[in-house]
């Protein structure tokens, strides 16, 4: 419990109305969770208080700047409203870590870092996790230092998008100076337009390959190759 806040709450009694029993109970519980915070339904579950009481009390506490509302990272698709002591910084579990801003992925920040990584790999032909980690932190683009595990996450994401290729060092050629077997990153071997899965396979090149209704398509059915609108559009060739 943050004694400074509790003490401040007590000192304020002279100027502001004192906290009600419910408000104090809820405040104590919220402060006990420190940087993890607590969801309203969890408060209800633990204190067995009805919803209107919790709502009223939390509004009062918010107004007095004793607690704050934080948008937690959505888990399983459900939005999370979290209450936390005013002076606490949300933990990574709540905020989602350095990649999240206000409960959503900070795409501008992530994309900026990706461009930085690509520029380094383009220049050096091949790079290791350590090399990229140092390069990005030395560039000081982020307010905080990016931890190595998060750097690894970023590079994995780039590999999944085919912006980078993950290879093992052979110790020779471009890998000279890198320990044999160490994981390295390089640009995809092809030229422009070859990354990011843009080479279309034979199946994806025809309407059936991209059709969301292929499972219900039958030769004589309502959806069939002879009646298919996607086919008609695809074959709508103008002389």
């Amino acid at each position: 419990m943050n004694r400074a806040v509790v003490a401040a709450g007590k000192r304020k009694r002279g100027s502001e109305p004192p906290l009600t029993r419910d408000e104090q109970q809820i405040l104590d519980l919220i402060l006990s969770k420190e940087s993890s915070g607590i969801q309203p339904r969890e408060i209800k579950y633990q204190l067995k208080l009805p919803d209107p009481v919790i709502t009223k009390a939390s509004k009062a506490l918010l107004a007095k700047n004793l607690i704050k509302e934080v948008k937690g990272v959505q888990r399983g698709g459900a939005a999370r409203k979290i209450f936390m002591g005013f002076n606490f910084t949300p933990s990574d579990v709540v905020s989602g870590g350095i990649w999240y801003d206000n409960g959503k992925i900070d795409t501008e920040f992530v994309n900026g870092l990706k461009m930085l990584c690509l520029s380094m790999v383009r220049k050096s032909k091949v790079a290791t996790l350590e090399g990229l980690h140092k390069f990005v932190n030395d560039a000081k683009v982020a307010k905080v230092e990016i931890p190595k595990p998060q750097m690894d996450e970023l590079l994995t994401s780039m590999v999944l998008e085919k912006e980078l290729l993950e290879v093992k060092s052979t110790g020779m050629g471009v890998f000279c100076g890198i320990r044999i077997g160490e994981t390295c990153y390089k640009l995809p071997a092809a030229g422009r337009g070859q990354a990011k899965g843009s080479i279309t396979g034979a199946f994806a090149s025809i309407p059936c390959g991209v059709c969301p209704r292929i499972d219900v398509c039958t030769p004589d059915g309502v959806i069939s190759p002879t009646t298919c609108v996607y086919f008609s559009q695809w074959l709508d060739i103008k002389l």
């Binding site: 959505q74 959503k104 992530v110 080479i199 090149s205 059936c208 190759p225 002879t226 002389l239």
Partner: protein
């Protein structure tokens, strides 16, 4: 077991080539497996006469194999079993490709012989000669003989190692039907033997002792097999190897560059010439000098030096041996895998979008169950969107899902790509797409039946445009069908 759309496609192929009755018999065998004649009769409700004739055609065209089972104690069963050879039906779709390969590599004379074998299923050498006589006004027996030898030489497959896994009765039947490896491509000066459809005059027998026993068959189908003369058929295995070769090279050309594709082509040619055939478990080793000598023979390869060949090998991901820095390990399976991944991933990307593409690649690489939130974190996709995509992919049969009950809700879900199930589904969808293309070609033709019957000299203005348009549409559909079939080969045989 053949997938549902594989069956429909095979039935369509047989129907378009040999008629609806043959298609019905074929479909019955595909759906119900190996059957006796009586069982086919009950299932199809066709007359026995019709079934006989259909089976004769299908056997002659190498689409069905007849065999008899040997009972324990050595006494053979009287009745004959019939099994459909799905792969050979699919090869009917690839006839154009096979002809093109032979035309490019061996010339038009050889192509002519191959066309006959494809059309007729199996021919004796005399029949091949007769066919050539009828075809061309000027007949040169020596040319036919030489062309035949060249086809045979190109077909030689080195003997394969023992397959140690347990074989099905059907596999044993196919083996019993074929001559021994040493005889398959042998060519003596008198009576030419070689890649034979049926060397033995008998229906092959499969049983505990694997003896070939002369049997009096209760049907006339044994007549097909009772001919004393040797029959020849197309060696599909060799053509398959070449199609796979082409598919891998094509993939490397688009995904890496032209030089890498030339180097790979040279390496695969070397592998094809050696004793080691395409085997998923083998990764043959080749020396850089051998590869280089093969590269400079190729169009576009003559200007390449050793350094560029080495660079291409590195781009291909070929590693040198620890014991010999001049030798490279050519992992054929990895190229096939890359080509397969390209097909799958581009479908996922186009059908479900970029986020789904990343998620699918993650799960494919992971090869194990991964929790929803972890997927979201690694792929940088919002949690809600991740859940939506995962459920959509799971609903469409591309992912496997397991639920874990937590002490308090919500429970969480684990996801993975079940490769076996996924590949089966993907292959079935490709068969479905090939069938759709074929049906659409027929539909387009039917729509313009009247216009297509008009003589060329009467095609003017709008009519001429309609015919031109039809030709473009047909060419588009057929080219797509051929390209898609290349992918089918990669998935079906590996």
């Amino acid at each position: 077991m053949v997938s549902p759309h594989g069956i429909l496609l095979a039935a369509h192929v047989i129907s378009s080539l040999y008629g609806d009755l043959c298609s019905k018999v074929c479909e019955c065998l595909l759906r119900k497996g190996t059957l006796k004649l009586d069982e086919i009769f009950k299932s199809t409700e066709l007359s026995k006469g019709n079934i006989f004739n259909c089976l004769r055609v299908l056997i002659h065209q190498n689409c069905v194999q007849a065999f008899q089972l040997e009972q324990e104690g050595g006494k053979a069963l009287k009745s004959t079993l019939y099994m459909v050879i799905f792969d050979n039906i699919m090869h009917k779709l690839r006839a154009t490709k096979f002809m093109q390969i032979v035309s490019e590599e061996l010339g038009e004379d050889c192509r002519g012989i191959l066309v006959g074998l494809i059309q007729h299923g199996r021919l004796s050498f005399d029949q091949i000669i007769d066919r050539e006589k009828q075809k061309t006004g000027s007949f040169d027996g020596q040319v036919v003989h030489d062309s035949f030898r060249r086809l045979l030489s190109a077909s030689e497959a080195p003997s394969q190692g023992e397959i140690t896994e347990r074989k099905t009765i059907e596999q044993l039947a196919l083996e019993a039907a074929a001559p021994s490896e040493s005889m398959r491509f042998s060519m003596d000066t008198g009576d030419i033997s070689g890649e034979k459809g049926e060397e033995s005059p008998n229906i092959p027998t499969v049983g505990q002792k694997r003896k070939n026993v002369v049997l009096d068959s209760d049907d006339e189908l044994s007549d097909v097999n009772r001919r004393i003369e040797v029959l020849w058929r197309v060696n599909f295995e060799e053509f398959l190897w070449r199609l796979i070769h082409k598919a891998c090279i094509s993939h490397v050309k688009t995904s890496i560059n032209n030089e890498a594709s030339i180097v790979l082509s040279a390496a695969l040619d070397l592998i094809g010439q050696s004793e080691t055939r395409l085997n998923a478990e083998n990764s043959p080793n080749l020396s850089i000098n051998d590869i280089y000598e093969e590269v400079i023979k190729k169009e576009g390869g003559v200007g390449m030096d050793l350094d560029r060949v080495q660079t291409s090998l590195e781009q291909l991901g070929c590693e040198t041996l620890a014991t010999d820095m001049e030798s490279y390990c050519i992992d054929i399976k990895s190229f096939i895998q890359m080509a397969q991944n390209q097909e799958v991933e581009s479908m996922i990307l186009k059908r479900y979008g970029k986020e789904a593409y990343k998620i699918f690649r993650l799960l494919s690489r992971a090869g194990r169950l991964v929790e929803t939130d972890k997927i979201s974190d690694i792929t940088f996709v919002e949690k809600k969107e991740t859940t939506k995509i995962l459920f959509q992919l799971w609903k469409d049969g591309y992912l496997h899902m397991e639920s874990m009950a937590a002490t308090r809700p919500p429970s969480f879900h684990l996801w993975k790509v079940d490769q076996k199930r996924f590949r089966a589904k993907f292959l079935d969808e490709m068969y479905h797409a090939v069938l759709n293309l074929k049906l659409r070609i027929t539909h387009e033709q039917d729509q313009r039946k009247e216009v297509l019957q008009i003589p060329k000299d009467k095609l003017v203005g709008e009519l001429r445009n309609k015919v031109m348009l039809y030709r473009i549409v047909r060419a588009t559909l057929e080219r797509s069908s051929m390209d898609l079939d290349d992918a089918v080969v990669l998935f079906h045989h590996f």
